[in-house]
């Protein structure tokens, strides 16, 4: 009996100690649900890399946090190239995109030093700079080969308000119009070009639509804008969308006009109504045109069953699309800042940017490198209008991506509700503005 009690107490004590050990903090801990990939692209369990942490203190090993997996093809792996060039080992921690921003925010909030380089999104960089979670890079840049004046204007505009340069853009993805050449040929329409007027786009969308005998749609002329390209439609109608000076959402008549156009198209069956469908109508050959991110060039490549090409988003009151990027930043808690900078310097240099462009299909944010056209995806054999990418880059701004995701998500949900006919476009815009004001914290004029 005594033995049983003693055994029970020992078991209880072990459980308590295990609990305490489990709760104990580990300063070098990787985010729990991350996969750690070394520069070779080989994925390891977090625990396997722990034994190598000591090397990091000597400045020869760093951890980098990003949301997408490094390419499996070694020749397209910029981290592997950076390792070879700098002699610094790079452990890449991949956090899923859906929770990337919140995980990084938590890392900054808790002073987590497990990552030396954080690839930070547009809407986070100002917040991280404000709480001194990331290092200013101006001193590093002063003695660097990176020419800050070579960045596209949008980058300079975004970093202007921060008081210092806190991050360097790893690329500059844009938004473009994808179109099905076969359907244009069948309808006897000219292909879109980079100066295409919005009115011509609307006419073409109607002509490209194929209806069934019962009035339902067989092929849509234009796919419903997605979370990203709703803002392109509102932008071309003339709304500012994001005011960098105040951080406000600025939409009005342009948004109402674009939503109304979408309502009309949905009523006529030219565009699908919002639904829970997750399939890509353009890729499936069910929509003749679609506005999407430039990164889809790499995804489509030669995988589609039809000929396709791209053009810039059509021009209405102005040419507009949103730029997308991530910024290489140095964690202010990093113990390997010099090594981290060396890696960033390589990744932002000509070779690093060339490899990134080839791997992602996105142009560099450095104009002189982007002009070399390394981002032209070889597999996209039917694409001829590569100029669409450069034109989009020039017209692109960091817009809605600088606003909290909840605010823009709420707005798009309201726009979709209007397209479904449940509220008017005017009410959708009004409610989106009120929500943004309440969430961001300002009073509407």
């Amino acid at each position: 009996m005594k033995l049983r009690k003693l055994f029970g107490l020992l078991l209880a004590l072990t459980m308590v100690l295990s609990l305490l050990v489990g709760c104990g903090s580990d300063d070098n801990k990787e985010p729990d649900d991350t996969k750690v990939t070394d520069g070779t692209g080989e994925t390891k369990d977090n625990k396997e890399t722990k034994g190598e942490d000591n090397e990091g203190e000597t400045g020869t090993e760093i951890n980098l946090t990003v949301w997408n997996e490094p390419p499996k093809d070694d020749s397209l792996n910029m981290y592997l190239a950076a390792e070879k060039a700098t002699g610094i080992k790079i452990n890449v921690s991949v956090i899923p995109e859906t929770e990337y921003s919140s995980k990084l925010n938590q890392m900054v909030a808790t002073g987590d030093d497990s990552a030396d380089i954080l690839v930070v999104w547009e809407n986070d960089i100002a917040n991280f700079a404000e709480v001194k979670g990331i290092e200013p890079l101006d001193d590093y840049l002063a003695s660097s080969s990176i020419n800050s004046n070579d960045f596209i204007d949008a980058v300079a505009q975004l970093t202007e308000g921060l008081g210092a340069t806190y991050g360097l853009p790893w690329c500059a993805a844009t938004e473009v119009l994808y179109y099905n050449q076969d359907m244009f040929d069948e309808a006897g329409l000219e292909y879109p070009n980079n100066d295409w007027a919005y009115e011509d786009f609307l006419v073409a969308a109607e002509k490209l639509t194929k209806l069934n005998s019962d009035g339902t749609t067989q092929v849509y002329g234009f796919d419903l804008p997605n979370l990203q390209t709703w803002w392109a439609g509102i932008g071309i109608k003339g709304d500012q969308i994001y005011d960098p000076a105040t951080g406000r959402l600025v939409i009005g008549d342009g948004a109402v006009s674009f939503i109304q156009d979408c309502v009309d198209m949905a009523k006529k069956g030219i565009m699908p109504v919002p639904s829970s469908d997750t399939s890509d109508n353009f890729g499936a050959g069910k929509a003749a045109m679609s506005w999407q991110g430039s990164w889809m060039v790499g995804s489509y490549g030669d995988t589609l069953d039809f000929n396709w090409d791209m053009a810039t988003i059509p021009t209405a009151a102005r040419k507009y699309n949103t730029l997308h990027t991530g910024f290489y930043t140095i964690n202010s808690k990093s113990k390997n800042k010099e090594a981290a900078w060396k890696v960033i310097e390589f990744l932002m240099g000509e070779e690093g940017q060339r490899i990134n462009s080839q791997a992602s299909g996105n142009p560099s944010a450095l104009v002189s490198i982007a002009e070399k056209g390394e981002w032209k995806v070889e597999a996209a054999k039917t694409v001829e209008n590569w100029d669409a990418m450069i034109d989009s880059l020039e017209a692109g701004v960091f817009g809605y991506t600088c606003i909290p995701a909840g605010v823009t998500g709420n707005a798009v949900s309201l726009f979709n509700t209007a397209v479904s006919g449940q509220i008017t476009p005017e009410d959708a815009v009004k409610q989106a503005m009120e929500y943004a004001a309440e969430t961001i914290g300002y009073t509407l004029d």
Binding site: K5, L9, L19, V108, S276, G406, N416
Partner: protein
């Protein structure tokens, strides 16, 4: 004599200490993972804490702003409605399934396996599967209906206000919570004395009378248990089901934005952790109120043999 008196005291003390020793791991776990988060959540709800950690004490401002916000009142209504309906629908369905399984049938094992299988699939995976079934243009259900009717069926199951609630409530029938309820009902039904049914047969009672006058009162404690756990599960577990189905905005037009979705939206997408914590405190209080109401009602409705 004194030494003899001390002995039982020492033994009692020893026994008590042993008991406390066994309880300690659970108690530490309770403090660390339940009590502390609740207290911390309340403390954070009194600040304007952002996701980056910036925090300032603002008293009850978050609560004042919440009660002024129409989005909160919409979510509050949706949450109450969703919880009550899910509680009723899943309880009735689980009871029905349990009664069917209670009939002696060779294929009962297979039937129980088939019904319980979706229940052990994680809610998120289940929701994604149902999302592809209930799509408008590419949904499997519409494709099936089109093929049997010969017409192009394009019902927007999860985006049309006329269909969204029915679709969501239908999907809740296949969650883990409902499957678990069914098993508990089944064990409760097995405990009902056969003699009571035999007595009813002698008195000439029909099936409905047997159900309402024997079965229901006899399983009422189980019914109470399932109602409490079902309502708490509907309040707190709705996120995993609804987030993949209708998004954090609770489409269409916030019709399915329950409080758990609003909390996620505010805390992570809008990065307002303080505000989200205040919403969490309110959800916690709602769960408490639900529990109290159900237990209060149970005093009148639940039959305990002893």
């Amino acid at each position: 004599m004194k030494a003899r008196k001390k002995k039982p005291m020492n033994r009692r003390l020893k026994n008590n200490l042993t008991a406390y020793g066994f309880m300690t791991p659970w108690f530490i776990g309770f403090i660390a993972f339940t009590l502390f988060p609740i207290i911390f959540m309340f403390a954070v709800s009194l600040t304007n804490r952002k996701l980056t950690g910036i925090s300032q004490y603002i008293g009850f401002t978050n609560y004042i702003n919440i009660f002024k916000n129409p989005n909160f009142w919409n979510s509050f209504r949706v949450t109450i409605f969703y919880t009550i309906i899910v509680m009723i629908v899943t309880s009735i369905w689980a009871l029905l399934m349990a009664m069917l399984l209670n009939h002696k049938n060779r294929l009962n094992g297979i039937f129980q396996f088939c019904y319980f299988l979706p229940s052990v699939i994680p809610s998120v995976a289940l929701s994604y599967a149902f999302r592809s079934i209930f799509g408008r243009d590419a949904g499997l259900l519409n494709a099936f209906l089109s093929s049997i009717t010969g017409k192009n069926v394009l019902i927007n199951w999860l985006y049309d206000p006329a269909f969204v609630y029915q679709t969501v409530f239908f999907i809740t029938l296949f969650t883990y919570s409902t499957g678990q309820m069914m098993l508990i009902y089944r064990s409760g039904l097995n405990e009902v004395s056969k003699q009571l049914y035999e007595a009813c047969d002698i008195d000439g009672a029909n099936s409905w009378q047997k159900f309402f006058h024997i079965t229901l009162p006899q399983i009422s404690p189980v019914l109470l248990f399932n109602t409490v756990t079902g309502s708490v599960s509907a309040l707190n577990g709705s996120f995993a089901l609804l987030y993949p189905l209708t998004g954090e905005e609770g489409n269409p037009n916030k019709m399915t934005q329950v409080l758990s979705l609003l909390i996620y939206n505010e805390s992570f997408s809008n990065q307002r952790v303080g505000y989200g914590s205040a919403l969490s405190v309110i959800l916690f209080l709602i769960a408490c109120v639900f529990g109290i109401i159900i237990f209060a009602l149970s005093k009148k409705l639940v039959y305990y043999e002893n």
